[in-house]
Symmetry: C2
Subunit: 203 residues, 2 copies
């Protein structure tokens, strides 16, 4: 096969280092292929190399194999989480929940993530690698919840892990799965928090 | 290709009509192939026929094509929803939420559903067909919530559609995506309802 390594042979642009541009091209090619429906099983270093316009050896110099590249590619789809203002628990939770789902609303996220899940489930190693990607985002929400328990904005006996799932779950199914045709994922962070704060039983 | 139509040529067993057994064999073959990682794009009537041990014509006599067969196959994975006892809103919601996810805990559900979603999203027609499958289950929860509003067990100003997502979303992400390693999807129905009833703000 005669791969023309376009990204590597392009004249060096000022600004970003060439190696970083090559990394980005490889990761973007991986995400493109997955978003277009290539399954993880079918996805090959060769197809990624062709799509990125680099040689296979260029990829193998950077990643030991498909799994490692896949892990780094998926990590770029996850929003790292903005700093929160630290004002009220309600305002900080709205900030964090507005980031549930794709980083920068990358449209490839919704196409890739559901389909990658069965693959991640197939081994504890993959599952753990994915947990490592999302855990820092969960921690931001946990910190705000713990602060709320400490300063009295939230109940003292709060089950942090359960409430975490109750905050993120409804928004995740709506943003990633478009679960309900009439709900608006952009409005849900505020709506979910207000209902959860007050509860649904009459006071 | 020489397909030996095993399911059709088997001697007629007493009890279930033969045509029903053939239907079930075809649907089960479809689900098996999807659960094993065949994408919807790659899935073919020929592969389904081979797996089910029937001829392609047998399938085409029952379904006009792959999409119609896929729809019926997915519908079998969804629990139709048990009758609720109609005692308390809390008890009825626990009953209904315990059914979120796979019918009879069919292990193929968790493998198939996430991966099928991007396919369902690709056209309004597919999305609507899937909505038609899950809407009757949502309606059961809506009915219990409306009863709660009417009899005073729930707040009068309840946003039914939002609360629906807040009840189902956390359990769905846990059961289908195994979102959080430490949460137990079987215990979540009761846990989610109790937290949501009382709210997380101090009273």
């Amino acid at each position: 096969m005669d791969h023309m390594p376009a990204a590597e042979e392009a004249p060096r642009a000022p600004g970003r280092p060439r190696s970083l541009r090559v990394d980005e091209a490889i990761i973007s090619a991986t995400l493109d292929l997955l978003a277009e429906g290539t399954s993880v099983e079918v996805l090959s270093i060769e197809a990624i190399a062709t799509r990125a316009g680099v040689g296979k050896a260029t990829i193998y110099r950077r990643w030991p194999g498909k799994e490692a590249l896949l892990h780094d590619a998926l990590a770029t789809l996850k929003h790292p989480g903005d700093e929160v203002a630290g004002e009220s628990v309600r305002a900080d939770l709205i900030t964090l929940l507005s980031q549930v789902g794709p980083a920068n609303h990358d449209p490839r996220f919704a196409k890739i993530m559901p389909c990658i899940v069965p693959h991640l489930m197939r081994s504890e190693e993959h599952y753990q690698a994915y947990q490592d990607i999302i855990e820092p985002r969960r921690n931001r929400v946990r910190e705000v919840l713990r602060r709320g328990v400490e300063n009295g904005e939230l109940r003292a006996d709060l089950d942090i892990e359960l409430v975490l799932a109750m905050l993120i779950g409804p928004i995740l199914v709506q943003r990633v799965l478009r679960w309900h045709p009439d709900l608006d994922a952009d409005k849900m962070p505020e709506q979910v928090i207000d209902v959860l704060m007050a509860g649904i039983a009459p006071q």
